[in-house]
Symmetry: C2
Subunit: 555 residues, 2 copies
């Protein structure tokens, strides 16, 4: 070929982006495809079928059966599994993050389709980024499943009633579809799983759904929402209405009563936030007109004044023919993708463009164990019939016959076989991470095994020995290094005096860094001399074995 190929560049591997590629490869003839490259940029090489994500928590559906390889869905598209680093609509160049060759990849385009969805917005609630589990991506569902088994394992072995209660309390913030489906599956899973544990009974579980508004599922008709509320309560979920998440720490979820403003701290190790989605950071930097962080497009899904730039899905604001702005749901993204693909093909062929006609089919949500609510074409369904309808719709919507077969096989096996309670420890704390403490919370206590060192970034902490405060720590101070260097248990209790933000380094990373970071070893020597009142050979100290544990053997 003498002429260079034109490129349609699609950003985003969710429903919108992937189906735009699927429709483009269907609509373009083989001859046209010789002159046009469809390129798709996605962080992952699979598309997540979001509606089934909650079922991964309970294990009704296998983790890798809620995803589909993008390469199989859109075999004629060219997939880049990288991040988008920047978009320059003036030069018509998109730059992708460095790949295995450590070089960023700039790509020019003729048409650009922006379908990047939303990003999590952690900024509004202190401690949310550090300690709340999100529930948006595939990894989140797997993480959550393992966290549930992890706390059961810990609670089984724990004799301190306060710590047990904290372990066996689960908080989900957000009473929309996402929060309700998530807590329903968690509740089902936990109540079945505890049968395999000796010391945990159903009454030990506290499963709490927080909803700031007057009722759950505000997206639905009131009678269906009330049905869902009653069912969840009957199945053991507590739903304190009018209560919003105020702060999160490793040990608690702080909630605030919407009316009285009263705060309450719920002791828990597991807070899940179906976090308010914010605009994508990259999109905010673009010169297109925006509405609440969404790119405003015309009814043909094209960005006004920027011919060849299109946007769709959750990151786009499209006015529907009924006058409403199209809501951020999968069914809308799917139809926008089709309209967008048709219009891109039309502009290649110099044909007239189409208008986005879809206004929505209905809404439905699963409530776990053989129950759901649905509102379709004005008809309201609830309970078993809604649940069968729910499953029927999603299995037919699932991309690919092989995926549908796997899904059905999972559902059949799930109906007969016990739930899996294995804990896959694939996740572990980052060697360097952040932790947030609320005022009064314990950072560590005298006698604890020294597993981490804390660097204070913001707030104040007190050091207590024998019940008396011996020092106050603030921004720039370090604590917890003595137990890591000397290998003795913690010799003091450190407590947050105010809300406290820290950077935390794990024992292993700290010892590795101490050995090789220029300046660190020297500073630590000085600090230890000051604190212990004697000079110290760091490397000799670290080699000392851990002394015998302080408490008596369990007999």
């Amino acid at each position: 070929m003498s002429t260079k190929k034109k490129r349609v560049l699609i950003l985003g591997g969710g429903f919108g982006g992937v189906y735009a590629a699927v429709h483009l490869q269907k609509l373009l003839s083989p001859q046209e495809l010789e002159g046009i490259e469809i390129a798709l940029v996605s962080r992952e090489n699979y598309m997540v079928f979001q509606p089934l994500l909650p079922e991964v928590i309970s294990g009704s559906v296998e983790l890798n059966h809620v995803i589909t390889p993008i390469r199989r869905m859109a075999p004629k598209a060219y997939l880049h599994t990288r991040e988008v680093e920047s978009v320059d609509p003036h030069q018509r160049v998109v730059t992708l993050s460095a790949g295995i060759d450590r070089l960023p990849l700039p790509l020019t385009y003729d048409h650009l389709v922006i379908a990047m969805g939303t990003q999590l917005d952690y900024s509004r609630i202190p401690g949310m980024r550090e300690h709340a589990h999100p529930f948006k991506y595939l990894g989140d569902a797997l993480y959550l499943r393992n966290q549930l088994v992890h706390v059961l394992e810990c609670a089984e072995a724990e004799s301190d009633p306060e710590l047990r209660r904290r372990l066996l309390t689960f908080v989900v913030a957000g009473g929309g579809f996402s929060g309700v489906e998530c807590i329903a599956e968690m509740n089902d899973f936990l109540r079945e799983a505890i049968r395999a544990y000796h010391t945990i009974s159903e009454s030990d579980l506290r499963i709490i759904l927080l909803q700031r508004g007057d009722r759950i599922l505000p997206e639905l008709t009131e009678s269906l929402a009330a049905f869902a509320h009653r069912l969840l309560v009957k199945r053991g979920v507590a739903i304190p209405l009018g209560a919003g998440l105020k702060a999160v720490s490793a040990d608690a979820a702080v909630i605030e009563d919407k009316k009285t403003g009263a705060e309450e701290s719920i002791a828990t190790r597991t807070t899940i936030a179906t976090i308010p989605a914010g605009p994508h950071a990259l999109i905010a930097s673009l010169p297109f007109k925006q509405d609440k962080g969404r790119i405003v497009v015309d009814q043909q899904t094209e960005v006004p004044d920027w011919p060849g730039v299109w946007a769709l899905g959750d990151c786009a604001a499209i006015q529907q023919v009924d006058g409403h702005t199209s809501p951020p749901t999968a069914q809308h993204a799917l139809r926008q993708a089709r309209t967008c693909a048709e219009n891109i093909v039309a502009s290649f062929r110099s044909q007239p463009k189409k208008i986005f006609q879809f206004t929505g089919l209905g809404k439905m949500g699963s409530l776990g164990r053989r129950s759901a609510v649905a509102e379709v074409f004005g008809i309201r369904l609830k309970g078993l019939i809604a649940w069968l309808f729910w499953r029927g719709v999603y299995v037919t919507k699932f991309p690919g016959l092989d995926g549908q077969v796997r899904l059905i096989a999972d559902w059949i096996l799930d109906a007969f076989l016990p739930r899996d309670i294995t804990q896959l420890r694939l996740f572990h704390e980052e060697a360097v991470h952040r932790e947030h403490f609320e005022a009064g919370e314990t950072v560590f206590a005298t006698g604890d095994f020294g597993d981490k060192v804390y660097f204070i970034v913001k707030g104040e902490a007190t050091v207590e020995r024998d019940g008396a405060t011996v020092a106050t720590l603030k921004n720039g101070d370090v604590c917890g290094e003595v137990a890591l260097i000397s290998n003795h248990p913690r010799n003091a209790t450190v407590r947050a005096a105010t809300a406290l933000d820290t950077v935390v380094v794990s024992r292993e990373a700290f010892q590795e860094l101490l050995g090789c970071l220029p300046g660190m070893s020297r500073t630590m020597q000085e600090l230890m001399r000051e604190r212990l009142g004697r000079p110290l050979d760091l490397h000799e100290e670290m080699k000392n074995p851990v002394p015998a544990p302080a408490r008596a053997p369990k007999e």
Copy 2:
């Protein structure tokens, strides 16, 4: 109850440990169990059915279908999911690692069963710990599967032929059962998976099995091993006999010819070592008589001179009735567990003890896609019939009817549906880790995106600018920090002058630490002033945006 319970404490959650608990709970009457606690210590809350682990690589069996929850197998036992920290056979106390309460847990015992298996021995080969993937635990199989998809994703987008070749080369070291089964499944998976990629063809794949000896599968009769060898070669696996692994780096596997001693470097990003198992570090510290790191026990599986201490499985050396030392296989561990459980019950009841009578049933190994080799009761099977036999044996041996049903369902679906090529990015490099380079290898090159900073622990490296060496770095030196602090691409090439060991800190962790580690910021300021010839405001520099990429856009 007025008297305290006696405790049988079992260490290890593999076949040996779990089946010892299973037999004990069966053999002891409910009355006896009121006075005897069976306690089992396992790092994980599941038992891995090891023979099926290779099938997880190819996806014929789902990851969580090769494991069984220990709590369901041994419901009457008390499971501790912790690490064993120390064993004191004089005081009869075992101390477990700190749990969620950050306190170690000491446990007394009346009978101790040691079934801790073996540990990986990384010490013999430079770079093995840093860059070779082991293949022993469940996580290894999942990691490997994702690594295969990862390199395919990278190779698909890569135009540099040298880097492509490195990405598409796969090395497995070790031609025993474990290495053969692993490479067979890898080979099957890769050859099917590449059909979904545009730029990768079968002839691009190089899949290499290294075997130091004269033939693969030395455990088997020669004719069966020869059959396996021919089949693997026919399916595209290269098997250079007499070649052993000498060193591993991120970019290569160095192999050594056993006879000539000649070394060759195979450019690859994926080296799997079916690593020689070494004795468990904890076992080496115990006062029991040992044979090559295994605890010597009598034919009743009890440790001589230590009544009430038992050992079995891969960590025990048991003389069989035929005079051989019992080999480290699952079938032997299972039978030893039964003998051990019977003898513990006999000692509670003051009855005579039994002798371990089992001498082995045979050996078999899978070769992937509908072929296997087996040698049972002197009968030799190969090909399809051996494969059917292999599957039949393992499905009946799999613990629990539910597990067997899941396994059969997976096998049925696998026969008809395409293989899953999704990449679950659950693994990422530790923020602080080690990397090994062989002499001549590039640490980073001018123009690269700066993703890491390197601290040299051992060896020497040269810094090159415009083709000339401008500096030599050695132990205690740091390199790569300029690009991380200034956000510019690498301004020099750093190359290993000798074998080089480094501690590596990721961009994110480095920037976090720079902000909060006392002494580090000061030292880095000094270093940067020295290197750049001007003072620097670290925090201002880090905020600067990444400059436009150096290369022209792809059109």
